[in-house]
């Protein structure tokens, strides 16, 4: 994990201070709401509250397969076919750490490719807990799951990738790291118990 950086300075103008105060408040509200939500979910599972998930019936026109993708053309300094923007994007810190100043904290990538729903939820929760404790990094996830709810609920950014994207040479992963200004990437597949964190 990156070394903690300095905490936000209170030297900002009044408006910024007020914005920061509101962020802290929202952050606390989210944390409370999340606690309630988790408690409700637990209760519902105990009392057997009804929930039905539907899917298209007989509508899928094609088999689910990714069509062949060809290698991208080379790009060089003397024939630049793709030139990356100079500025990386800045991911949001997540609703549970809303008060984190974006520019002053390290962006850390987490590879959560190939995980089932429960494992994925557990890993994202671990990252979230770790972030709240340290308050010095902003996570971005590299996930292959089509279920984005774990990220959405916590206000995290993810990039939807395949195992090949992160394992096959790394071009795609490097591009995404550059896109989000990722300073280091942790492969959570190596420690699905969260020991890395």
């Amino acid at each position: 994990m990156p070394t903690p950086t300095k905490s936000p300075t209170p030297a900002a103008p009044t408006a910024n201070r007020e914005a920061q105060r509101l962020r802290v408040k929202l952050q606390e509200l989210f944390r409370e709401t999340e606690s309630i939500r988790r408690a409700l979910t637990e209760r519902n599972s105990k009392i057997g509250a009804n929930s039905v998930t539907i899917s298209p019936v007989g509508l899928a026109a094609r088999s689910l397969r990714d069509p062949d993708a060809k290698a991208l053309s080379a790009t060089t300094s003397w024939w630049p076919t793709r030139v990356l923007p100079q500025k990386s994007l800045v991911p949001p810190p997540g609703l549970g750490a809303l008060s984190l100043p974006r520019e002053q904290n390290a962006v850390v990538g987490f590879i959560v490719v190939g995980m089932g729903a429960e494992t994925l939820e557990r890993m994202v929760q671990l990252v979230s807990v770790s972030q709240r404790a340290r308050m010095n990094f902003i996570p971005i996830f590299f996930s292959s799951s089509t279920d984005f709810s774990s990220f959405r609920r916590r206000g995290y950014v993810l990039e939807y990738v395949t195992a090949d994207d992160v394992d096959g040479g790394g071009d795609r992963l490097r591009y995404l790291e550059r896109k989000w200004g990722v300073q280091s990437t942790i492969d959570l597949r190596d420690a699905s118990d969260g020991s890395t964190l």
Binding site: L40, A49, I54, P56, L64, W79, V83, P92, F148
Partner: protein, 1051 residues
């Protein structure tokens, strides 16, 4: 500077006089004379014209020396002053001429046909005297001119001989064994296009050149077009000045018939001499008999065609009679006669100087010791990242070269640090195998280097050393803007860098003039470097609509009432792929200070037969390809030509003909062949296609913007499902809908929305462009179909980075009336589909005013009615009892309203009815958990509409999809429209349905009053009434029509 002969004159005006001067120079040079040219500007010619044509060729070949305007003095035994009209005002050229013999060649009558003096002798004498002429001898060129000068004989010394002309008869020899088309004579004429060269009236014009006769006219322009009323008779064939060679033209006619305006007098026409040399017997106005005697015929204009028909009765006799013309040329215009006159004037046969001009003036490239360098026929050097007209121009030339079999290399020469990639079309040329990329470290040889964008080349001289590994025998620098740099210095640097002889090729007359004036020693190509373009397609949709005009007009004209009657799209994107395909007309009125304009794009519009309207100053550049008008008349001009089908067709035909003569691939190949010969290695014509991608099933990228619901995704799924199985849909979404798309069996990609980034949208957009480019290239995408409100520049740029990737926009209406919308990108889409809206009559949003640009289809829905599950099956899957009533609560995703409060109020009201089963829909992309109410069932997943038959009524938001599915599938509903200003106009939709008695509408504030409405919907008869009224609205599904349009677009 010393010469044997100095010619003082205006070499800027094209036409017979310039041809004569060129012939004289060439002849004198061949005889070993050193010829100096002192160029002055004709005061009465307002246009800022360059030196071009044959005289420019001779200067480039060093057969004559163009004296720099700041040269103090030149000397010669003989000075020839060409045309007294050149000396009516002081020239900016201050060079003094010292000659033993000074002769004024008088090429025009001293008085015109109505007795007006064409020059003032006193002024001419004074001006020529200031230049240095003493004892000026005036030499008329013909009997007509001599007669006109008679009143001046007491003021000037007139020669007793006529100034000799030169026509090399052998060069004009034409086989006339038979008439061209048997019984039907072909008559024609060749002249400059100016008004005085044509008869006085339309009636006279058609009397001389009957509409039904086979007429061929070389030198036809807008004056002639106006004279005949804008419509060229079908039997005629017209050519612009210089469009084809005079020799070729004269070989295509049987009779040369030339009559002009009654106010004009012809002095001694070169065109007539050339016609005679080509074996024709000219038919001319009576007064010219003084000049040509029995070498021509002189009927009255009204009898000219009768004379032709009479002559055509006996072709043999005509040919015999025509030999008189050839005799006249031999006698009056022979090279030997001319040299004899020069000999006499110069006082002695001039000494033969070893001028030392090699057959090929280009210096041989220096020895380059490199190991087997790659060789190309043409190496294109440019900053390949530049977009706009230069990109269009370069790509057009690369394609034409490759198609002709030339091997083309590309050397990217960035003008500044790389911040963007190689431009669209050029990158496509490489992908398609039309050209090969050359590294700056690589040794390459080329027969010709074409350097584009010279103002940016060698800027700062970075890379100077490393780039010196490319070499060529000849270098042409294509200058597309008036230079604001030292052309001579840049020319020297380019020559040194690539070891070759440099000539400059201006793209238009303004650039030529600027270089010529400021840098007279820089060699210029004789002809302007015109672009080579492919034809554009006709604008495809809405045949009865107002013209789609790509306009660049002064602001006050853009806002005028007339302009509002056009579908006016900004012309900034003229060079974008397929932009012109969607336009009917182009109007281009640049700022007066503009130094460059989109020559190539305008040429492309002309090639597509578009109506192109330009300021008059562009006429020398675009000829009959465009229509010219003052800025205040541009609207009227477009209106007049657009509304008259005959005129519009004529404009299109002339434009296409102009393009085929000036911008065609064949013309370009001929140009290159003249420069470097045929391709060095006959390229396998199949090699281009071999390197192209295999012809696989076309792939379409469906790109869904993120919304508060799943509307964008659902519409795209609806279309994708209806495409043929030979098209592969691939999806990308900005929202969290990958699971939804995947369930339908389509590959799905996710691009995080800008709302996740703290940067400006533009900064996100730069990454979007790359993300999309990756998908387009990896999957060989042929079309992007975007569903969303705001297509960003990054989206459009990504598609345009691939020349064969088209763009479609699915843009539903009912935008909020106050929404701040931008439609800048709309003109860049190949197709815009507006999914119909049942409540379209209530649409007060900005898209309602832009229906002229869209294809409207019925409301697009995911499912057909037959795809809905039966009540029994739906209930089984939802674990419901089909015998009990069931209500569905679906109030949206909760992104921008408090749906928990809404659902709570609704559930409380619903739970008053014990028998009622309650299902609460939780959107797939929602962050809200709606499993909070005991006794209810949360419904997750997609598509809920398929389960419609499980429900007896609904409480629902009024988003596009939900609303139309509800009405189409006749589900009794209470609408709780989302009135958030960021949304589409759900309230109007809901009210429309209520007004049709097909549903109820409640505002969010009225939700506490929902109980009585639910009570009503528990009544079977009430529900039946709503169902019946829904069915009366007859909603049809437009998804298939949208799919058909998209299939057509992707071909």
């Amino acid at each position: 500077m010393d010469f044997d002969v100095v010619i003082v004159g205006d070499f800027h005006v094209a036409g017979g006089t310039a041809v004569l001067a060129a012939n004289e120079i060439s002849l004198m040079h061949g005889a070993g004379l050193r010829v100096g040219l002192v160029a002055i500007q004709v005061s009465h010619v307002k246009a800022d014209l360059p030196i071009r044509g044959p005289i420019r060729d001779l200067i480039n070949l060093r057969k004559a020396t163009l004296v720099a305007p700041d040269t103090r003095q030149v000397t010669a035994p003989l000075a020839i002053f060409e045309n007294p009209r050149c000396f009516l005002a002081r020239s900016t050229n201050r060079t003094r001429v010292r000659a033993t013999q000074n002769v004024m060649a008088v090429h025009f009558p001293a008085f015109n046909a109505v007795g007006e003096a064409t020059f003032d002798v006193g002024t001419v004498t004074r001006i020529t005297s200031e230049i240095g002429a003493r004892d000026l001898l005036w030499a008329p060129v013909s009997a007509v001119v001599r007669q006109s000068m008679a009143p001046l004989s007491h003021e000037v010394t007139i020669s007793d001989w006529d100034w000799p002309y030169i026509v090399n008869a052998a060069q004009w020899k034409t086989d006339r064994t038979t008439s061209l088309s048997g019984k039907t004579p072909v008559l024609g004429r060749h002249s400059r296009p100016s008004r005085e060269k044509w008869p006085d009236t339309r009636a006279e014009m058609f009397k001389i050149y009957p509409r039904a006769a086979k007429v061929r006219l070389l030198g036809f322009g807008h004056d002639a077009l106006n004279l005949i009323g804008d419509r060229i008779p079908d039997a005629w064939q017209v050519f612009e000045f210089n469009e084809i060679s005079p020799l070729q033209f004269l070989g295509s006619i049987d009779y040369f018939v030339y009559y002009h305006h009654s106010h004009y007098l012809e002095a001694f026409s070169v065109a007539i001499l050339e016609a005679m040399a080509a074996g024709l017997l000219p038919i001319l106005p009576k007064y010219l008999e003084k000049n040509y005697g029995d070498a021509a015929l002189y009927p009255e204009p009204g009898d000219a065609f009768a004379t032709v028909r009479s002559l055509h009765q006996d072709w043999g006799a005509y040919r015999k009679r025509a030999t008189a013309g050839l005799d006249f040329v031999h006698e009056r215009a022979s090279p030997a006669g001319y040299l004899a006159r020069i000999d006499e004037l110069a006082g002695a046969r001039p000494k033969l100087h070893a001028v030392g001009i090699p057959a090929n003036p280009a210096p041989a490239p220096s020895e380059i010791s490199r190991t087997t360098p790659r060789s190309f026929d043409v190496l294109v050097v440019a900053d390949m990242t530049r977009t706009g007209d230069i990109e269009l121009r370069i790509a057009g030339e690369i394609s034409a070269l490759a198609e002709a079999g030339y091997r083309v290399g590309l050397l990217h020469f960035p003008a500044k640090p790389v911040t963007r990639g190689v431009s669209t079309r050029i990158a496509a040329c490489v992908r398609d195998g039309r050209a090969s990329v050359v590294s700056p470290e690589e040794s390459v040889r080329a027969r010709l280097i074409l350097a584009f964008g010279p103002h940016a080349l060698l800027t700062g001289m970075e890379g100077f050393k490393t780039l010196s590994k490319a070499a060529a025998e000849r270098i042409i620098v294509v200058a597309d803007a008036v230079p604001n740099y030292d052309v001579e210095a840049k020319s020297a640097a380019i020559s040194y860098l690539f070891d070759g002889h440099v000539t400059w090729a201006p793209t238009n007359g303004w650039v030529r003039t600027a270089i010529e004036r400021r840098f007279p020693s820089v060699p210029l190509e004789a002809k302007n470097w015109l672009p080579v373009v492919q034809s554009t397609a006709a604008a495809p949709i809405n045949k009865k609509r107002l013209p789609v005009v790509a306009g660049s007009l002064p602001a006050q004209l853009m806002k005028s009432a007339d302009a509002q009657q056009w579908n006016l799209v900004p012309a900034d994107n003229l060079s974008r792929p397929r932009f012109l395909d969607r336009c009917d007309a182009v109007v281009w009125y640049p700022d007066p200070g503009a130094s460059e304009w989109p020559d190539a794009a305008i040429a492309q519009a002309i090639a597509g037969g578009k109506l192109v309207v330009l300021p008059r100053k562009f006429e020398p550049q675009f000829g009959l390809g465009a229509t010219y008008s003052g800025g205040d008349r541009v609207h009227a001009t477009v209106k007049r030509l657009w509304s008259n089908k005959v005129l519009r067709t004529g404009v299109a035909r002339r434009a296409k003909q102009h393009a085929s003569s000036f911008y065609s691939e064949q013309g370009y190949r001929d140009r290159l062949s003249d420069l470097i010969g045929k391709p060095s290695h006959r390229r396998d014509a199949r090699s281009i296609s071999k390197t192209r991608k295999p012809n696989t099933r076309p792939r379409i990228l469906f790109l869904a913007s993120n919304g508060t619901g799943l509307g964008h995704v659902a519409r795209l799924l609806a279309i994708a499902r209806r495409l043929d199985r030979d098209i592969d849909p691939i999806f990308a979404t900005f929202g969290h809908a990958v699971d939804v798309i995947s369930q339908f069996g389509y590959p799905a990609h996710y691009i995080p929305s800008p709302i996740y980034s703290d940067l400006k949208t533009e900064e996100w957009d730069a990454w979007l462009r790359l993300d999309l480019q990756r998908l387009i290239e990896a999957y060989d995408i042929k079309l992007i179909v975007f569903d969303g409100n705001s297509p960003s520049p990054g989206l459009v740029d990504a598609a345009h980075a691939f020349s064969d990737c088209k763009l479609a926009w699915v843009r539903r209406g009912m935008w909020n009336a106050n929404s701040r919308s931008s439609f800048e990108q709309a003109a860049l889409f190949d197709l815009i589909i507006e999914p119909g809206d049942l409540a379209a009559s209530r649409d007060a949003g900005p898209t309602a005013k832009r229906r002229g640009e869209v294809l409207q289809v019925d409301p697009i829905m995911l499912l057909e009615k037959r795809e809905l599950l039966s009540r029994k099956e739906a209930a089984r899957r939802l674990h419901l009892d089909p015998r009990r009533p069931t209500a569905l609560v679906q109030v949206g995703s909760g992104s921008n309203r408090d749906i928990v409060r809404l659902v709570d109020s609704v559930v409380v009201a619903l739970q008053r009815h014990e028998q009622l089963q309650i299902m609460i829909a939780e959107w797939s992309i929602s962050s809200n958990d709606l499993s909070l109410w005991q006794g209810t069932t949360r419904l997750k997943g997609f598509p809920m509409a398929q389960y419609r038959n499980a429900f007896d009524f609904a409480v629902s938001a009024a988003g596009y999809n939900t609303f139309h599915e509800t009405i189409c599938y006749a589900l009794p509903t209470i609408f709780l429209a989302n009135a958030d200003p960021s949304m589409d106009d759900q309230v109007s939709r809901a009210r429309y349905a209520q007004d049709a008695e097909a549903a109820f509408e409640l505002s969010e504030d009225e939700v506490e009053d929902i109980g009585p409405f639910i009570d009503l919907l528990m009544n079977k008869a009430a529900r039946a009434s709503l169902v019946a009224n829904c069915r009366k609205l007859k909603v049809r599904n437009g998804a298939a029509a949208a799919a058909a349009a998209i299939k057509e677009l992707v071909g």
